[in-house]
């Protein structure tokens, strides 16, 4: 792996346990049922929920927070449903993402969507063209969707993102 030798530490797991969703991470017994249930793991070469939790438990803070892997969880929660110890890898990785975002590690795809969201108040502003409007009209649906595009500006202080519109 890397050049330096990693000394296992429980401090990262404790840090995550303090974030809502991360509490149960220490209950993991590394049985692998999460990975066995994970559709993403099946089709991905790198994403393995159990291994990612193992890295957390061993304290590999920098590697995990900088990695794209926690963002590959598609939040389907099958791992959560099946884990017999009451750990939710989906929630643990959610806590990781929150922490990663605080430290400025947000994948490009997410940052791009966030930019559109902050601008319009909703995600698909760019996709709502005349064609879609017409379809709605034919169906007797309201064409003015009435999205509020100013509330989100008040939340900017809570969203650790650079202004990259």
């Amino acid at each position: 792996m890397g050049e330096s030798v990693h000394t296992p530490t429980s401090s990262f797991a404790e840090e995550l346990a303090a974030i809502p969703g991360g509490e149960a991470v220490n209950k993991c017994i590394q049985c692998g049922i999460c990975t066995a249930s994970c559709a993403v793991a099946r089709y991905s070469d790198e994403y393995r929920p159990r291994q990612l939790i193992q890295k957390i438990l061993l304290g590999e803070r920098e590697e995990v927070l900088k990695s794209e892997l926690p963002w590959l969880c598609m939040t389907c929660r099958l791992c959560e449903e099946r884990c017999q110890e009451g750990v939710s890898p989906a929630e643990v990785f959610h806590a990781v993402r929150i922490l990663a975002a605080r430290e400025g590690h947000v994948p490009l795809a997410f940052r791009q969507v966030m930019a559109a969201l902050m601008r319009d108040g909703w995600i698909l502003g760019d996709s709502y063209t005349d064609f879609e409007e017409e379809d709605r009209e034919d169906l007797g649906l309201e064409t003015d969707l009435g999205w509020n595009n100013e509330f989100l500006h008040r939340l900017k202080q809570y969203l650790p993102l650079e202004e990259d519109e």
Partner: protein
């Protein structure tokens, strides 16, 4: 329940307006008036959710507070929206600090969250607020000789402790509704698995493979149509059938549950947007007793 506020979400109005129209038509037929929510924002699912817990809670909190002002429950037709609103409602109901923080933010608009309104996913409204017997009573033109595969979606049914919709390990609401409408529901491998939709953001290839796996399992089970209760799932399960890996197979129509129930309830097909379905639903409509309208 006489009236409910519809929270559309970002995707349905643009990508699957037929789902919105069919839902409104069906609910009205079953005695529930549907009112649009205006001046709302996105629910923040997946994106804001992953970046800031307070911003996420505030976005849902605002939507909930606005519904409180109208004194009506919220109908969510998208799984992710339903999940966001319910998870945040749960947080705000149980965590005083979070509730305080969010209400401080909302106060600037004169809004306040006190926990008065409920968040209902479409399946809850159909199964619980309206009830199966009411639906049965309203069927005028049942289906005959058609097999359906129900796809529930992850955010609709999980996490059970918070969303409380159906049995996540063995869901049956869509199956029951389809059977009331005269169809036969078939079981298939991986029924409770994800459609792959949320994966589109980070890795489209994986998302497609996941969706295609589901389609294959449905095919093996011999279903004629896939019924959904979330537009994201609907779009994803449709989309993956157009990928080159599936170009040789016959495409299976995908329909939201309300679009499927509509004709059986005697609702005009124009109001259901069936012409907009990317995969032709005529094989399904032909199964209506007496043929399609």
């Amino acid at each position: 329940m006489n009236e409910i506020l519809l929270y559309r979400g970002c995707t349905t109005p643009v990508r699957l307006p037929a789902y919105e129209a069919a839902t409104i038509a069906v609910l009205e037929k079953l005695g529930v008036k549907v009112r649009d929510m205006k001046d709302v924002t996105c629910c923040g699912a997946q994106y804001v959710e992953s970046i800031s817990q307070i911003a996420f809670a505030a976005m849902s909190g605002r939507i909930l507070a606005m519904a409180e002002k109208e004194g009506l429950d919220i109908l969510a037709i998208c799984g992710a929206c339903s999940g966001s609103l319910k998870i945040n409602k749960h947080l705000l109901d149980h965590n005083e600090e979070a509730r305080g923080q969010v209400n401080d933010i909302l106060a600037e608009e004169g809004l306040k969250y006190t926990g008065k309104v409920r968040v209902r996913h479409l399946l809850q409204v159909l199964a619980e607020d309206i009830g199966f017997s009411e639906v049965e009573r309203a069927i005028v033109k049942p289906y005959e000789g058609i097999k359906i595969a129900a796809h529930y979606g992850c955010h609709v049914t999980r996490p059970f402790e918070i969303v409380q919709v159906d049995d996540p390990e063995n869901p049956t609401i869509i199956d029951q509704l389809a059977e009331i409408a005269g169809a036969e529901s078939v079981d298939y491998a991986g029924k409770t698995r994800c459609c792959g939709g949320p994966m589109l953001a980070m890795d489209e290839k994986i998302a497609t493979k996941i969706g295609q796996e589901k389609i294959k399992n449905v095919e093996v089970a011999g279903a004629d149509v896939i019924l959904t209760a979330c537009e994201f799932c609907d779009l994803q399960l449709t989309q993956v059938q157009f990928d080159e890996a599936m170009s040789s197979t016959r495409r299976i129509p995908v329909m939201p549950i309300t679009q499927f129930l509509g004709p059986a309830l005697g609702i005009d097909e124009d109001r259901l947007g069936l012409g907009l379905n990317r995969i032709d639903p005529s094989p399904v409509l032909d199964a209506l007793q007496g043929g399609s309208a």
